[in-house]
Symmetry: C2
Subunit: 333 residues, 2 copies
Amino acid sequence: MEAERQPTLADVARAARVATSTASRALQESPRISETTKLRVRAAARTLGYRPNRVARSLRTRTANIAGIVVPDIGAPFYSRVVKGAQDVLETAGLAVLVMNTQREPGREVTALRTLLEHRVSGVLVATSGGSAAEPEMPTVYFDNIVRNRGVGNVTRANVDGVMLLVEHLRGHGHTRIGYVGGPPTLTSGTERLEGFRQAVTSFGLAAREDYVQLSEATWSPHSGADAMRRLLALDEPPTAVVTSGESLALGALSACRNAGLRVPEDLALVSFDDPPFGDLLDPPLTALVRNEEEMGRLAASLLLHALQSTAFPPPADVRLPVELVVRHSCGC
Amino acid sequence: MEAERQPTLADVARAARVATSTASRALQESPRISETTKLRVRAAARTLGYRPNRVARSLRTRTANIAGIVVPDIGAPFYSRVVKGAQDVLETAGLAVLVMNTQREPGREVTALRTLLEHRVSGVLVATSGGSAAEPEMPTVYFDNIVRNRGVGNVTRANVDGVMLLVEHLRGHGHTRIGYVGGPPTLTSGTERLEGFRQAVTSFGLAAREDYVQLSEATWSPHSGADAMRRLLALDEPPTAVVTSGESLALGALSACRNAGLRVPEDLALVSFDDPPFGDLLDPPLTALVRNEEEMGRLAASLLLHALQSTAFPPPADVRLPVELVVRHSCGC
DNA sequence: CTGAAAGCGCTTACAG
DNA sequence: CTGAAAGCGCTTACAG
């Protein structure tokens, strides 16, 4: 920790005996500056340990070279991986990443967005919890939960296709009594995956029992997954296979089976939409959709960068990440 | 996304018919400004949708109200939880958090620190991968892997105590042939936990066989954990219990046991230093140290905030998070 | 209680 | 090829 203040461009210019404007241009490799001058300036900068002050540059150029990312819970494996992917492409593009955590509270989401606006970030990536109703005041890409006709883009997975793919696979194993353990039917993931299940019931001619659909009320926790699974197992004629719509739900469902003395997949087949961390190390290894959170982050970041560069205002891009099955053993394979 | 530019304080002042200095003070709730003026200014600000420009404020006050955090892998559950804890206390203190990911490459760590310096962050939290050799140029708190006599503080867990606690518990179950699956013996976690195991061997009178210590060479991955466990199991007289020094290692070790047809804990007891995500949902539920990553993040952030406020330059605080056992079933309980 | 002025550290037309 | 000057949007002594 240094007490003395950082050298400024003026200090460098003085040491190199040029004007600050010349020093600025030299350091930017402007072709207008002679090679000898550049050499002098660079030498002076190095000697002084000069580090440009991005705050000043941001103020002057009116662009902060910072992007914001707003997530419900940075501690959750899902979101931390999205952040990783996004961070990687943003940083490559020269943007540092300001992370805001909302704890899924809409109020905190609004505050987070406001803070980001005050920092004059170039743009923002948002996994909404339902907080922001109004049109955002900065270039915004929504991911995970999408918000139609707002922002410059949306990225989420092919939720309907994903659930149908999972059901289809179970159907291929001969199951017709298939249950669904779902998250709260709000926002994109909750509603679309449920819709996917309903479609699958029709498409694949499954037993259309409303009590085969068990949704958690408020959270996507293992606890809700276990509860939902227990309700399924308590039925007069329980399903022979179950689709869970999220990683935590899957883990909870799995442990509920274990506690009920059921073997997976022998007594009950289980597949999951999200692949939990170390899903391949579970007992049994879980059949799920291929993990692509980093890809989602990369894609969302790319959409944002694209929007920042383009001058046109096309309608928001609406991107669906394709789903793919990773077949392990919990399905019966 | 708004095309028109954000209103400035000058715009607010004009609308309220005061000087910008007065507007500034009114919005800061300075006691020097009359209540009626404040009312006018606030009304003008609200009408215009004024949002202070923190970039300008930062330049002027020479403090960015941003903190940096540098981690090897934001996608890893461990680090993402630390970030969550840190983010929470920093944000409460009015600091936004810039996250840098190094992929464990020392070169990227140096670059990350430089970028943070250029952003003139107030201070930084670093989980080093061994990159930064020199004295940091900003207030720095190291966490996870500590760096003595640098920065303003260090936070890590009581690594030696932790391993001893785990061994002691296994010893309580009657085991004397206890193996150790460790991460690379570099940096704090790798070296101190190994040291803890060596001490435990002596203290608890265990079989002191060098081949009971199996370290991974470069990574903390499940793969290395499985390899190390396999080496242990291939021994002439394999251990009856194993301590793993990290979450990924534990999961890899567990799956190696499974593949070898060993039941845990009946055939081999297993305990882990880190508690993996959903460790309670594993089969068997894993006995490990209580998870306290968020606490580590909170503590590191608090140390930083303290250093930022204090004018004194005390020697770096060196904090050890106490460890605690969460007894589940993999140990034989 | 309020205002005019300077200045944080840069970049970038504008001159020469 | 180089420099003097203005200005990004704030805050804060300094006057009054």
